[in-house]
């Protein structure tokens, strides 16, 4: 059995590009700390290369490789691309930010690349082992990046909290993995389905116990209530570009693996776990929105908002169905949109954030922004309206997608709770707009929007508007992305 064929190398090229780039960067930054800007450029180029290779692989139609450890299929590439874009945006935003806080280091970019590599592993994972390693690679790099403002007390604290709780969660995940391994003798996604269905283990307590444990790992990463509590603190303490990266890419990658695993391997037990997801979704949406209402710190507010969005996505997760891919594509579309919204929002926050004291960026600091800087204000308003789910922004389409899936699945009450939550969330999203447009600025906070931030903002606004106005090209695209499920689901059906 040849270990690596040329075809496989091609399929794994994004990973090689990212890791290779990271290694080069590490070496470079070890010898030169003055050329950090150039290192940032280099990282950007690596991203573009990775993105190019992801795009070039779009029609490659991969298969489970390396003992079924990973599969480079469209689903994975979709999320890989999404994460890469988010990461690229983070790089564009970071330069100025890092320089401003005097932490401009090449290793930062290397870690970003490694984290992105972890994401690639995660989204292409076809085996719980890969999921675990992808999660860890992604997370460890992020632990470091969260604490990158080394002298900042909040950053220290955020890194510590994230690290401890992340470790705690991964222990549960591993425990679940071990039980899964013991029970089924395999960790391969497809093999799990075959074993579970074949051996009639769908209702086995051990199997379900393992699912519960594995679920902890995922719901921690996607910040579902009550596994969400790290989110506000970490989002607040982390450097703003990284917060955006976490809210966008990390969440997207985690959801990707979550979706693939649960829509495939654990789907036979859907009846057992869907109720839980419903409850989690409700709790997550509601708590996220309600607590966001009373936040004055912008990053913290967006952290809670991010929790709430996880709740909406969980609505889609709970509505996964065997006979159509509406819910799954809804989740994907939501993540697509959310990534852009959150990337843009945090890009702007990165540009505004000046303070190093513990107060952080408060709503008051946004006062009059829309009047002083109309384009920035417009962009932020678009993101806020999108997050609130107002047409004609993409946020509406995203919500529409998951809620319609829930309705089709008969989860009308869940959908109703969802929209009521949307209404609730309006209050704090609108408040941002209120501050930006309807209040005079008390102090003229300087805005450090260099070209990187602007590029990110323009791209995000365009994406959010375009996805809202004419997702006609995207929606069918997403449906085809989910072609893999068609195959596996049919198999599941036949096994029943």
């Amino acid at each position: 059995m040849p270990m690596f064929t040329a075809e496989m190398v091609k399929l794994m090229m994004p990973l090689f590009i990212l890791t290779g780039g990271a290694c080069v960067l590490l070496g470079w930054s070890a010898v030169s700390t003055r050329t950090a800007r150039a290192q940032g450029w280099f990282a950007g180029v690596v991203h573009v290369a990775a993105l190019a290779s992801i795009v070039s692989l779009w029609n490659a139609d991969g298969w489970p490789m390396l003992n079924g450890m990973l599969i480079v299929d469209r689903f994975g590439l979709f999320f890989a691309g999404l994460c890469t874009i988010s990461s690229l945006g983070t790089i564009l935003v970071s330069g100025n930010y890092l320089a401003r806080f005097d932490i401009l280091r090449g290793e930062y970019y290397a870690l970003l690349l490694l984290s992105l590599a972890g994401m690639f592993v995660l989204v292409t994972a076809y085996d719980l082992m890969s999921v675990f390693l992808g999660l860890e690679l992604m997370s460890l790099a992020i632990y470091v990046m969260v604490g990158f403002r080394r002298r900042d007390l909040l950053a220290n604290e955020a890194a510590m909290k994230y690290f401890l709780l992340g470790g705690f969660a991964i222990a549960f995940f591993l425990y679940g993995m071990s039980i899964m391994y013991g029970l089924l003798g395999t960790l391969n996604f497809k093999a799990i389905v075959v074993e579970v269905v074949g051996r009639g283990l769908v209702k086995s307590p051990v199997f379900l116990f393992a699912i519960a444990l594995i679920l902890v790992g995922f719901v921690f990463k996607v910040s579902a209530v009550p596994f969400h509590m790290w989110v506000p603190d970490v989002y607040q303490g982390a450097p703003s570009p990284i917060t955006g990266f976490m809210a966008g890419a990390v969440k997207a990658a985690s959801f990707a693996a979550f979706l693939r695993l649960f829509y495939m391997s654990f789907f036979p037990a859907h009846a057992q776990w869907s109720d839980i997801i419903v409850v989690l979704a409700i709790a997550t949406m509601t708590l996220g929105n309600i607590v966001a209402l009373v936040q004055r710190n912008v990053k913290r507010m967006l952290a809670y908002s991010s929790i709430a969005h996880a709740g909406y996505i969980l609505v889609g997760m709970s509505a996964l169905a065997i006979d159509n891919t509406r819910a799954a594509s809804g989740v994907m579309f939501y993540l697509l949109v959310y990534t852009f919204m959150t990337l843009g929002a945090f890009a702007l926050i990165s540009a505004i954030e000046n303070r190093t004291d513990s107060r952080g960026l408060e709503l008051e600091d946004l006062s009059g922004l829309g009047l002083r800087r109309p384009m920035l204000g417009f962009a932020m308003a678009v993101f806020m309206f999108a997050m609130a789910g107002i047409p004609p922004t993409a946020g509406f389409f995203a919500k529409y997608y998951v809620f319609s899936a829930a309705v089709e699945r008969g989860l009308v009450t869940l959908a109703v709770i969802g929209v009521l939550n949307s209404a609730l969330s309006l209050y704090y999203y609108l408040r941002v707009v209120v501050y930006m447009y309807f209040r005079k600025s008390a102090s003229e906070q300087p805005v450090h929007d260099d070209w990187g931030v602007r590029v990110v903002l323009i791209a995000s606004v365009l994406a959010v508007l375009w996805l809202g106005l004419g997702p006609s090209g995207v929606v069918p695209g997403i449906e085809t992305v989910l072609g893999w499920t068609g195959d596996s689901l049919e198999r599941i059906v036949s096994l029943r």
Binding site: M160, K161, L164, L165, F168, A169, F172, P205, L208, F209, I211, A212, L213, L215, V216, V219, F220, V225, P226, F227, M229, W230, P232, D233, Q272, W273, D275, I276, V279, L287, I290, V291, A292, L293, V294, Q295, L424, Y427
Partner: protein, 673 residues
């Protein structure tokens, strides 16, 4: 011929538009537009109408009595679903009578106004309103269907509102105008409902219509369907009439309406608009005949209003107020007439009243004009020396209203009394009771009118020096109409000389096809069942014995003369007696002087509680309190919950882990169970 019909209302409308435009154009300038031009436009409009009306009248006289109808449909006004309303004018004998009165007296008053309003800054505006009123009133009169009648009905109300508040700088005037409008609206509300009932009946019969002739025809055919709702419909329509014609309990606006310029009081609040209610009931007589109970109510309300208003008239100091209450009282008379089924008598009184009351008002206006705006009779006296024409015409009209033969008032009033006496309306006691009331009212009317005459033109001279300085007879533009009207007050009565006095009662016959004819049109079979006893007894006037009629006639004349004499005694011969009498009556006088505190009652019982409920309960409690409380409460609750939940976020890592473990246990519990 019928094509000319449209000129009648349109001429004043054009006049109104032209004058209104002028008024607006000149509104920002120092000087108003040329008064001559305004007068020309303003007076030409009703006069053109009048001329057309006369021509049509002559034409109509040439027709067979049953064919005396002229009509024209201008365009479809509303056509929606089952509702089809044409903008159609339709004139029969009754409306022709009204047209003559309205355009005739209206023209006179327009002429009078050119003198009265001379120099007023709002001259153009005034004529615009007055012309607009003419348009509305003519529309009311000529309307073929009830909605169009309602257009006129509301239109005259609007003009009344505008004209009462014409001198808007005094907020009291404006308030009076508003009060008039709103009280009228209360009546209109009932009118609308009444109209709806009729519409429903016709709709049910498969031919939804509100056209008066069609209603009349259908009422003849579908007697049963109509009589089922007739009482309700008639009562509601009557409430509408009460509003417009200032009957109890909706009369309160009329005295206040005297705030308007005096020609307005004469035209709108005496001669024409306020009689619209009477006209409307006469127009719908076929309906009221089906509803004896409603008719009884009409008669009773009319009678009570008559005496009630007359009693208030006793104690007024303001000459216009006296006339206003007199108008209310006389309108009560008319309602009494139509209530007992004496439609032609009612309409006849309407016509005669239009003359003498218009004359009285214009006379009063002339007095006020001469007195530089003074209206308190107790500050007048001996004016007969200064204002001969005014005095004479006023006196003639006073005799007319008092019912002194052979002036107009005598014939019309007597016909009403006689019809009442003979009526079979309501319970057995009612006709006689109403007759007594009518008679008493006649006496009282004589008294208070002559009280006014004596206080104003005779008696003690209380005119202030300053006023006396300016005191003068009014210009010809004002006196000429007075003379014409006074002449009318003398003459028109003879149109309705009853048979018992050997008269042909031309008036009665003229109206016969309209007021008694509908049964005739559709055969006696229906008529026998359809025509109530009311009609049979009253319309035919001659059913009672003629000797009885003569006796009663004498009685009423005696009563009227007694009233006049009493007034003379009190206010001319023994000037102190009135004061003594007043103080003797004490509380009662105060009660009467304050119009039985009806306004105050409305204020306390309806206006203030209504306002308080709207303000305190609806706005502050329900709206701002409960609904807003719930709405904001939801928001506050969400925030409170949020503020509570955020406390869980203690910042302590172990707590976070603890919640994760709890969450894990929940997952296990739910999954494994």
């Amino acid at each position: 011929m019928s094509n000319m019909l449209w000129i009648i209302p349109i001429a004043p409308l054009v006049g109104a538009a032209l004058n209104g435009l002028l008024a607006l154009i000149y509104s920002g300038r120092e000087k108003g537009p040329n008064e001559r031009l305004i007068s020309l436009i303003g007076c030409a409009a009703p006069i053109i109408s009048f001329v057309v009306v006369v021509r049509l009248f002559l034409a109509m006289r040439g027709m067979a009595p049953d064919d005396r109808i002229i009509e024209t449909t201008l365009f479809t006004w509303i056509s929606a679903g089952a509702v089809h309303v044409d903008f159609a004018y339709w004139v029969d004998a009754l409306s022709m009578t009204m047209l003559l009165v309205v355009t005739g007296i209206g023209s006179l008053i327009h002429v009078y106004s050119t003198g009265y309003m001379h120099g007023d800054r709002g001259f153009a505006r005034f004529f615009s309103y007055l012309n607009l009123f003419m348009f509305a009133m003519l529309t009311l009169v000529m309307a073929k269907n009830l909605p169009l009648l309602f257009v006129g009905w509301e239109g005259v109300g609007l003009c009344s509102y505008l004209l009462i508040g014409f001198w808007y700088k005094d907020i009291a005037n404006a308030a009076a105008g508003k009060k008039a409008f709103i009280v009228n609206r209360v009546g209109d509300f009932a009118f609308l409902i009444g109209m709806f009932i009729l519409f429903m009946v016709t709709l049910h019969l498969g031919d939804p219509t509100l056209d008066v002739p069609s209603l009349r025809a259908m009422a003849g055919i579908h007697h049963e369907a109509f009589s089922k709702v007739a009482v309700a419909a008639c009562l509601l329509l009557f409430v509408g009439a009460c509003g417009k014609s200032a009957q109890i309990p909706l009369y309160v606006w009329l005295p206040d309406a005297m705030a308007g310029p005096t020609p307005v009081s004469a035209l709108i609040h005496a001669a024409t608009m306020v009689t619209a209610g009477v006209y409307m009931i006469a127009r719908l007589n076929f309906l009221f005949e089906m509803a004896p109970a409603a008719s009884a109510v009409v008669a009773l309300v009319g009678g009570i209003t008559a005496i009630f208003a007359a009693s208030i008239g006793f104690a007024q100091r303001d000459i216009k107020k006296v006339l206003a209450y007199s108008t209310v009282s006389q309108l009560g008379y008319m309602f009494l007439a139509v209530g007992v089924g004496a439609y032609s008598a009612g309409v006849f009184h309407l016509v005669t009243h239009a003359f003498f009351k218009a004359c009285l008002f214009l006379g009063a206006g002339s007095v006020i004009h001469g007195m530089s705006g003074e209206q308190d009779m107790f500050k007048m006296g001996q004016l007969s020396k200064h204002m001969k024409i005014t005095w004479l015409t006023f006196l003639i009209s006073s005799f007319a209203i008092a019912g002194v033969p052979p002036l107009a008032g005598f014939f019309s009033k007597d016909e009403i009394l006689w019809s009442t006496f003979n009526a079979t309306v309501g319970p057995e006691w009612m006709p006689r009771f109403l007759w007594v009331i009518g008679l008493a009212t006649a006496g009282m009317t004589a008294f208070y009118v002559f009280r006014a005459v004596f206080l104003t033109f005779h008696g003690k001279d209380n005119v202030s020096k300053e006023a006396k300085h300016h005191l003068h007879e009014s210009p010809p533009a004002m006196t000429m109409p007075l003379v014409v009207l006074a002449a009318g007050a003398v003459v028109v009565g003879f149109l309705g000389v009853p048979a018992v006095l050997g008269g042909p009662n031309l008036f009665h016959h003229w109206l016969e096809p309209v007021l008694a004819g509908h049964a005739g049109g559709h055969g006696m079979g229906v008529g026998a069942a359809g025509m109530s006893a009311v009609t049979v007894a009253a319309e035919a006037g001659g059913h009672g014995s003629s000797s009885m009629e003569l006796i009663l006639m004498v009685v009423s004349v005696v009563v009227a003369l007694a009233g006049i004499l009493f007034a003379r005694v009190l206010y001319v011969q023994m000037p102190g007696a009135a004061a003594a009498f007043t103080s003797r009556m004490g509380g009662f006088y105060t009660l009467v002087f304050n119009k039985y505190y009806v306004d105050e009652l409305y204020e306390r019982a309806i206006v203030r509680p209504g306002y308080a409920i709207a303000d305190k309960i609806m706005y502050r409690l329900i709206d701002a309190g409960i609904i807003e409380g719930v709405v904001n409460g939801l928001g506050i609750t969400a925030r409170l919950v949020g503020a509570t939940l955020r406390l869980v976020q203690s910042g302590v890592v172990r707590t976070y882990a603890f919640f994760m473990l709890i969450g894990f246990l929940y997952l296990v519990y739910e999954l494994v169970k």
